[in-house]
């Protein structure tokens, strides 16, 4: 196993302006095989200038890795303006200690990211595989698509310990999302496949869905007026109402399933 520690230097985010750093170049697969000096020289974007990783982060490397799977990156410091953590990552592990900024785990295809805090918007955007664990809250557009695309998450597993923001799982086509808290409006908007479970409450879930499955274990506020009630079902010993929808997409396309307690 190899552990690469990247600790954001304090002065980077202590000024009047908190300018974000994009770290899509710092994934286990991209750092695998590099020594400490080489990692320090990897370029990251900080605003409109490219900087050396070593100038923004304190970098230390412990152990050896025989494969990408054995690489673990631990990110520390004020990560609230560190964007694209694990964006596009293929394998290995990232642990982010604290709140992270947008696009964490976007387009990841494999490996595991654990966020020990909250994650801002677009975490898991267009995720294809791997695992993303957010111990705190997730922002808006969790696991959604990029602007204009008609496909969001297609694979992998995402767990949110707290609440999720608006439009979680928009255009989701596969994979699984578990949200232990509540979700804001329009979870599973345009969903066409995969599975979302919300342990808390949800507002207007399932709008325009054409496939996939949403289960709301808490309350549904503002239930969509275009779903058809088709009977009751027992899940894990509890009785749920089963709806299909969204009929606003026409009956032919309304193949989404919504379970409400």
């Amino acid at each position: 196993m190899q552990t690469i520690r990247l600790k954001l230097k304090e002065e980077i985010t202590s000024g009047n302006a908190k300018i974000p750093i994009d770290v899509d170049s710092l994934t286990p697969d991209k750092l695998f095989g590099k020594n400490e000096a080489e990692i320090k020289a990897v370029k990251v974007w900080w605003g409109n200038r490219e900087e050396n990783t070593g100038d923004l982060f304190d970098v230390s490397v412990e152990g050896e890795a025989g494969s990408v799977e054995e690489v673990k990156i631990v990110m520390e410091g004020d990560l609230s303006r560190v964007k694209h953590i694990g964006d596009g990552m293929k394998a290995g592990e990232i642990e982010a200690i604290g709140d992270v900024d947008m696009h964490c785990g976007a387009m990841m295809t494999g490996g595991k990211i654990t966020v020990r805090g909250n994650a801002d918007c677009w975490a898991g955007r267009e995720m294809r595989g791997g695992e993303l664990i957010i111990e705190g809250d997730a922002g808006d557009n969790l696991c959604a698509m990029y602007r204009g695309e008609m496909t969001g998450m297609t694979g992998g597993k995402v767990t949110v310990g707290g609440n999720a923001g608006e439009c979680a799982g928009q255009y989701m086509a596969g994979g699984e999302i578990l949200i232990k808290g509540n979700t804001s409006i329009l979870t599973g908007l345009n969903m066409k496949g995969g599975k979302i479970t919300i342990e808390g409450d949800a507002v207007m879930p399932g709008a325009d869905m054409t496939g996939g499955e949403i289960t709301v274990k808490g309350k549904v506020l503002d239930m969509m007026p275009s779903f058809r009630f088709v009977g009751t079902t027992t899940i894990e010993g509890e009785e749920y109402k089963k709806y299909i929808g969204d009929l606003a997409m026409t009956e032919k396309r309304a193949k989404g399933v919504l379970y409400v307690r």
Binding site: G139, D140, E166
Partner: protein, 129 residues
């Protein structure tokens, strides 16, 4: 039911006079039009505020004092402040991943007050502290 410190739904938007003074925001006319809060008659009465009486409106994001103004057609429990600096003192900057703050439909509290309505320059000064 509106009473002291009562919860209302705050919306903002355009008015003709606000539009006429878009290029003239430091004017008296703009102040008189935009530093106001429109409520329906019943809400005015329940709140115990007279026309041109002052009200303090508070949200999780800020508070501001404006003049109360009666306006028919406004539903009970909804208050309207013309778009501009006074309304915006109450608006959240969180755009929920859309770039757009929620200028309409903000949970607010409203109460009569004796405090003065801040002029535009003084209102701006509060942001510089």
């Amino acid at each position: 039911m509106i009473k002291m410190g009562a919860k209302v739904n705050l919306i903002s938007g355009r008015t003709i006079v606000q539009g006429q003074n878009l290029d003239n925001k430091l004017s008296e006319e703009y102040f008189n039009e935009v530093a106001t809060c429109e409520l329906n008659k019943a809400d005015m009465e329940r709140l115990g505020v007279a026309a041109d009486g002052h009200v303090k409106v508070k949200t999780s994001f800020g508070e501001v004092v404006v003049k109360a103004k009666e306006k028919g057609g406004t539903p009970e429990g909804v208050v309207f402040i013309p778009m501009g600096p006074w309304a915006n003192a109450l608006v959240s900057g969180n755009t929920h991943g859309a770039g757009m703050p929620q200028y309409k439909g903000i949970d607010a509290e409203i109460e009569p007050t004796e405090e003065e309505v801040l002029r535009i320059k003084d209102l701006m000064k509060t942001y510089m502290e």
